[in-house]
Amino acid sequence: MSLASKEAFSKLPQKLHNFFIKFPPRPFAEYSEKPSTIVDPKFNPFLPNKNPETGKWHGAKYSLRRSSDLFKMARKFGIQDLLPPMPKKFYEEKYNNKNWMRGVLTQKKQKWERELPEKLEAREDAIAKMDDIIAAARPRYKRQLEKKKKREQTWF
C-alpha cells in the first residue's frame, strides 16, 4: 500500500497542523537558531525572545515539554526537520552529543593499577640491559662476560 501526498497530509495530527498554521514548516519560513527579539520575523517559538521596547525577556512560546511533544510526534511521521530548530536534542543525536562524565569515560583505578604498565616496562627494560648495568657498576664483570661467551656452545 502506498500513500499519495494528499492522503498522507490528511493523516497529519491536528496538533502539528495547528502548529504549522502558526509557524510554517522550515524551508518556507526561516527561524533563528539563537534567541532574538519578539519583533524579529525569524523569531524561534521554542526559544526565549527579548522585547526590545521594555528590555524584558519573554519565555519560549512553546515550553520544553510542549516542544518535545511536537518533535516526538513529528518524528513519528518523519517531518521533524520541518519544525524550527530545537533547544533540546533527542534520541541518537542526544546520545551522541552527550557530555559524558570523566569517570565514566576513563576509570580512575588505584594508584598501583595506574602505574603498573610503566613499572612492568621498566622491569623488562632492566632485564634486557642487565649485563650492561652490572658492567658499569663492576668493570671486572666484562672479563667474566668474555669467558662466558667463549664457553658458549653452538650447534655446529
Binding site: 500500500m1 502506498s2 500513500l3 499519495a4 501526498s5 494528499k6 492522503e7 498522507a8 497530509f9 490528511s10 493523516k11 497529519l12 495530527p13 491536528q14 496538533k15 497542523h17 495547528n18 504549522f20 498554521i21 502558526k22 510554517p24 514548516p25 524551508p27 518556507f28 510526534m73 513519528k76 511521521f77 518523519g78 517531518i79 520541518l82
Partner: protein, 290 residues
Amino acid sequence: MNKRYTLPTFETAQLPVVPAATRKNNYERGIAPGDLVYITEGEKKGTVTSVFHYNPSNDAVLVANVTEKRITPKTTWVENQNSHYVDYPSYLPMSKVKLAGKDKDDEGKVSYVVADEIVLKDKYYDDRYKRWLPKRFVKHHSSIEIPWPNPPSAFEDDALSTQEPTVFEKTYELQTIAKAPVPKAALNQLRNPYSKHKKRVLSELQARRLNSPEMPLSVEQKIYLAKQASKPKKTYTNLSEEIKDFIGDKMAQHINSIDNPAMLAHLEALSRAKVPDFEKTIQNIEDESK
C-alpha cells in the same frame, strides 16, 4: 536493729513508693478488704489474718492484728484514748503476705489454701461490688479459684434511701433538633416577619458598602490598553497547497517505509486525535475569510 528494742517515736517507717505509672488499684492487684492473707515474714509470720485496706501508693496492706507501738500526738487521739502510747496498725508490704482462701470440708473442718502467686483472668459482673471483676486463680492451678470476699460495708436500704426501680425510671426525654421546640404556627408571634433584616433588597448605601469601588486606571495602564487596542488582531491563514504537498510528500515517504502494522495503527490513532486549539485556529481563519 530489731524493731523490738527501739524506742517508740512519732516517726513512721516509710515504705518505698511505687511510681505512679506502675501503680495498680486493689482489683488489678487482686486483693480486696475482707480477704484472708498469710503472713510470710516478720513477727506474725505464719498467721492468717484478714485485710482491712490496700494502699496502692506503697503496694502495702493493713491487716488485722499487725500493729506497732507508737506515740501519738494528742491532736490525733481518738475517742476514749487516754494514753500517748498506743497500738497503731502498721502496713505490711505485699511481698510479705500471700493471698489465702478458706475452705470447709463436709465435716466442717476448716483448711486454708495459700496461693504463692495468683492469676487474674475472665472478667465477670459481681453484683455485690456492682462492677466487673476478674476471677482469681492460684497460678498453675486453674481449678482453684479464690473468690472475692463480701464487700465489708454492703449498702443496706433504709427509710430515706431511693429504691432501685425509682432510680431507673425515665422521667425526662432529651430534646432533639428533629423535633422543633416551638410549634410552627406560633413562630410568627415570636418573630417579626416585617423585620428590616428580612428584606431581600439592599439599599443603595448598603450595596455601596458591600462592593469595593473600581480602581481607576493609571496613565501607564491607559496608554498600554490604547496601544493594545490599536494593534491589528492576530490572524492566521490556512496552509498553502504547496506547503500541504510538501508535508504530504515527506509523510508519505516515511509512512510507506513502515512495515510494522502496530506502528501504522498507532499513527492512525494519533492522526485521529482532536485538539480544541486547532478548532479555534480554524474558526479564526474562517472568521477572517468572511
